[in-house]
Symmetry: C2
Subunit: 346 residues, 2 copies
Amino acid sequence: MSIETIGWHKGKLRLIDQTELPGKLKYISTDDVNVVWDAIKRLAVRGAPAIGIAGAFGVAVAALKSRAKDCDALKNDVIKAADYLSGSRPTAVNLFWALERMKAVARSGRAENCKRMKQFLLDEAKNILKDDKIRCRKIGENGERLIKEGDGVLTHCNAGALATGGAGTALSAIFSAKRKGRKFTVYVDETRPLLQGARLTAWELLHEKIDTVLITDNMAGQVMKEGKINLVITGADRIALNGDVANKIGTYGIATLAKAHAIPFYIAAPVSTIDFSIKTGGEIPIEQRDADEIIKCGGKRIAPGNVRVYNPAFDVTPSHLIAGIITDKGFVTPPYGKKIPGLGER
Amino acid sequence: MSIETIGWHKGKLRLIDQTELPGKLKYISTDDVNVVWDAIKRLAVRGAPAIGIAGAFGVAVAALKSRAKDCDALKNDVIKAADYLSGSRPTAVNLFWALERMKAVARSGRAENCKRMKQFLLDEAKNILKDDKIRCRKIGENGERLIKEGDGVLTHCNAGALATGGAGTALSAIFSAKRKGRKFTVYVDETRPLLQGARLTAWELLHEKIDTVLITDNMAGQVMKEGKINLVITGADRIALNGDVANKIGTYGIATLAKAHAIPFYIAAPVSTIDFSIKTGGEIPIEQRDADEIIKCGGKRIAPGNVRVYNPAFDVTPSHLIAGIITDKGFVTPPYGKKIPGLGER
């Protein structure tokens, strides 16, 4: 049984509060756009696809609560809510993509009154969620063959069910390979500072009874050197037209180490992660996060309180380090420059 | 004022309990060899040179407490204590080197009675400590010129005063460059699982008023890519004749990343860190440590309790990734095969 990271229940958006995992499985139920903004900001919901879905429902709950008397006023409230939500995380493009879909509904003129427009908006959020489940399944189908019997697979951060509306991206490929009956071992980087690997990915993999080994981030080079790793798969937060990929901090280092060990490094992400407006990863803004995330671990201060900290949440992996990108619309390999633009047209 | 990691006070060995840093500066005072063994095992004292000094004093306190009636019986007690202490950590060679020095005193036949032999043993431990202070100073003198005005220096784990009897190894070079009036920034990897970088190195650098930036281990690649790093310096736990170096887990990954970014990677260590009995790093045993070190952080469980863990305490960096080794007897550069054996003869 797969876990439900995001759902719509009894007129409210329900999210797993991922900051409490793996200790507690706690839910947030809300019809308040501010609570959704805060859940995205503090990573109670995280992972590029899941952020997009949460953002869409955030717009929907704002619309449902709106006191606008006509469609124009409601449209303005929708645009306001979308703009507000877009400020919660700057790097993941799926959020902007989902918010654009919601704004397009409000702008379409399809609804004859506010009640209908509210219904259309809620339906659109539900469709984004439903589509994401399908996209995850397709990523799994397109990626599973990369994982062979007996392989060691390294993954970073969390690109699983907890990052999406479905079975995940990188983990969907892993889950699909498992369902094909193959046996393999997944090495999980703990992914400091927020430990999504240790807290979330290890939890998901064990839930699916996959052989899982947890390591610290600085052990990636060593497990590669020892021959334990046959391939690396991670998710993505934004992909440029040339195949450069923004993903959780540390991804670039792993991709560089993989190259040095001649290990293929793959990205798994839905086409909604591609930013068709940017040519290279150099155009992707990198979110800088609070020093406390590094100065503390497990809630405890672990460093001198007055130390300076550098805390980029993401890095950009240049396309020449990426052996292939697994999407819901197929598996693409270098050269990406010609193939990625085409994915938007399928 | 430099901190005193290890000292002999009022008939007892006094150690900083480094597991309590940076929160508390707490000391362990003991004349019990079991307490010394435990302090080494649980990393209350750590860093290859400091472990060697603690081991020497461990033999000395065991000898001082011995009820042996003659020199032969005392010699046997010394050998027993040294063998016992050698099992506390398997990778750092300085420990075995220091224990050999203590056993050599017992075997020398210099002492005419037990009382004299006990005095000789205590003197030898004090000499090992005193010599280490001098070695640290010389490493500083031999390494400081590598750090230029305005540089960014990356270091890993703790190779400072807390790792030695003096000013440190890698950090001694940094402290010497500071004393020359140069301004630069030191980037410190936090060094999971035991966070020696965040807890100890950041604390030491701030104590010496050096511009310090703390990062998580998985950010090393990113700060290199951004051009923030001009050189890397780390300590070493054991060096083979061909220049392969065992050091804290993560060192190999950093050295590989440094190579990919054309950044020089240096090792700083006393000649006592060289194992003249081994040709390559392949002969160095790598200590595997407890799963709880990874499953917990800051004392709190951060991963599912039933997850498998891989926890090597060290890795081996092949000599071809090392631009130079700074020792107390000079700075050596590749090819190491001919130069390292010569260091033992100076």
